[in-house]
């Protein structure tokens, strides 16, 4: 679905991603893991086109993506839930959700009911401004907003940060459901092993801007965890 070949990326003069390679299978749910600061978020931003890559290519279903501007990647089928949520603080919840409607293929004019089934709290808060929501509510909004796009690939950057346990579970269910039932490809960054193991079938481990291990989730060994995740 998505393959990333030899990507290099810089912030100013410092290189963050080093010749990075990554392959995501269609319909899979892949978890990217690694310590703080190894470049996970950076990688996702590169996929979204929010950071320029210096070299290398990013393919979506074989189509090169790296030359496309950021705003054409959502229509190409990628939904993004950023770390820190990045909801539009002064738009109402409703407006936040409606933002994505125009690029839906089916030309829907209303927010799909499905979103509210997944996150009922959003329905209650429809007229409140995004920025006024609590952290967890914002996180739900961010996921909902990405789902409005009906993406082929859903990218989630630590979606459970600050979410109450029953909703974490619920988000897990949602991801599983979308992945399993609707065949949505999911890329997930997650620190919590339990959650990662529950929802994803693949893992990729990152270290200093490179992917150092990739395998099925079942094969994530204590050894690897100690080496790449423990402090």
């Amino acid at each position: 679905m998505i393959s990333i070949n030899n990507v290099n990326q810089f912030y100013g003069g410092t290189q963050i991603l080093w010749d990075l390679n990554l392959d995501i299978k269609p319909g899979s749910c892949t978890c990217i893991m690694g310590r703080n600061g190894v470049g996970k978020t950076t990688l996702l931003k590169c996929i979204m086109g929010l950071l320029p890559v210096s070299s290398g290519e990013i393919l979506l279903e074989g189509e090169p993506l790296q030359k496309k501007k950021a705003e054409y990647r959502a229509p190409a089928g990628i939904g993004y839930v950023p770390q820190g949520r990045d909801i539009f603080p002064l738009l109402t919840v409703e407006e936040n959700l409606k933002i994505g409607l125009p690029i839906r293929k089916d030309g829907a004019k209303e927010i799909p009911e499905k979103i509210f089934e997944l996150f009922p709290v959003l329905k209650e808060m429809l007229q409140r401004r995004g920025g006024d929501l609590s952290g967890g509510q914002q996180q739900q909004l961010a996921i909902g907003r990405a789902l409005v796009l009906e993406p082929k690939v859903l990218i989630l950057d630590e979606p459970n940060e600050g979410i109450q346990p029953n909703i974490v579970k619920q988000i897990g269910d949602v991801i599983l459901k979308l992945n399993k039932e609707e065949g949505l490809t999911v890329i997930l960054i997650e620190q919590k092993l339990g959650f990662a193991r529950r929802v994803s079938e693949e893992f990729r481990l990152m270290e200093r801007g490179r992917v150092v291990a990739s395998d099925r989730m079942d094969n994530l060994s204590e050894e690897l965890i100690r080496q790449y995740l423990a402090v």
Partner: protein, 277 residues
């Protein structure tokens, strides 16, 4: 009072003029309670974010505060630290200090430190400077202008850098730290201030499990000497540190007790924990 009396009063040698007096008040904890929150109400355009909330935190305690998203945890901290004004209710620090009368800076100077849910550090400063600024010191203009770091303070900074694992990044600009690193830095800033009461909003968000464990250790070790209030959704983490847990729901306290009590509380399970996995 006659003018003469006033003059005499002013001239008395044994008295210090009010504006010269040392204002760092001592916190009166004669009843073991450090923080009183009573009858707190706050609504935003009709939505009640805090609803007749009562909460007592003992001195030296480590209290976990949990509750559904939007229950009012962050809002409560906002009120305690002076960021948000409440509609009614009282908040006392010790027996005598009414926090509602004070502004953010005064409250901070009283020894209440806070870590925000979303990490906020001074992006254009180095890690080191961030810590220096948080140092417990006289924070009015003149002393700050003349302040220099003494060796004890250097050591303290070093020590904190060690604790938060940012030794290598000490000269890096805080703005270019990753999310998790910023979390750590913010904890470091809290440590530097050496506060009486720490309000910690979701410290382990974005941290790996192991880092979370380290944070837990750190917070546990702080309690006792200091008082710590932690808000967190990570139940593993809460379990690992919790002695008393308070559950907020819709702006008021739903339940309070030990971790076990809470985990088996039907209400809490319903609104917060969900069925045990």
């Amino acid at each position: 009072m006659s003018l003469l009396d006033t003059t005499r009063e002013v001239m008395r040698r044994d008295q210090v003029w009010p504006f010269l007096q040392d204002h760092s008040q001592e916190v009166d904890i004669s009843h073991q309670v450090l923080l009183y929150v009573e009858g707190l109400n706050l609504s935003f355009d009709g939505f009640k974010a805090l609803n007749d909330l009562n909460l007592y935190i003992n001195d030296g305690e480590l209290r976990c505060l949990i509750g559904a998203n939007g229950a009012g945890k962050t809002t409560l901290m906002d009120v305690i630290t002076g960021k948000t004004k409440c509609d009614s209710g009282t908040v006392y620090f010790g027996q005598s200090l009414n926090l509602l009368e004070k502004d953010e800076a005064e409250i901070a100077q009283l020894g209440i430190g806070r870590k925000f849910q979303k990490p906020t550090v001074f992006e254009a400063h180095t890690v080191m400077d961030n810590l220096e600024l948080s140092l417990k010191s006289n924070k009015s203009v003149m002393p700050t202008l003349l302040a220099t770091l003494n060796s004890a303070e250097y050591d303290q900074i070093d020590h904190v850098l060690e604790t938060i694992g940012l030794k290598g990044e000490r000269m890096m600009l805080a703005g270019s730290l990753s999310h998790g690193q910023k979390q750590w830095l913010e904890i470091g800033m809290l440590l530097m201030a050496n506060p009486r009461l720490l309000l910690v909003d979701e410290p382990v968000a974005g941290m790996t499990v192991q880092e979370g464990e380290r944070t837990a250790e750190l917070l546990t070790s702080l309690a006792g000497e200091r008082t710590v209030v932690v808000v967190e959704h990570d139940m593993e983490f809460v379990r690992s540190i919790a002695r008393t847990v308070t559950v907020l729901h819709q702006g008021s306290v739903l339940a309070e007790g030990t971790m076990d009590e809470i985990q088996n509380n039907q209400d809490v399970i319903e609104v917060y924990l969900g069925e045990a996995p």
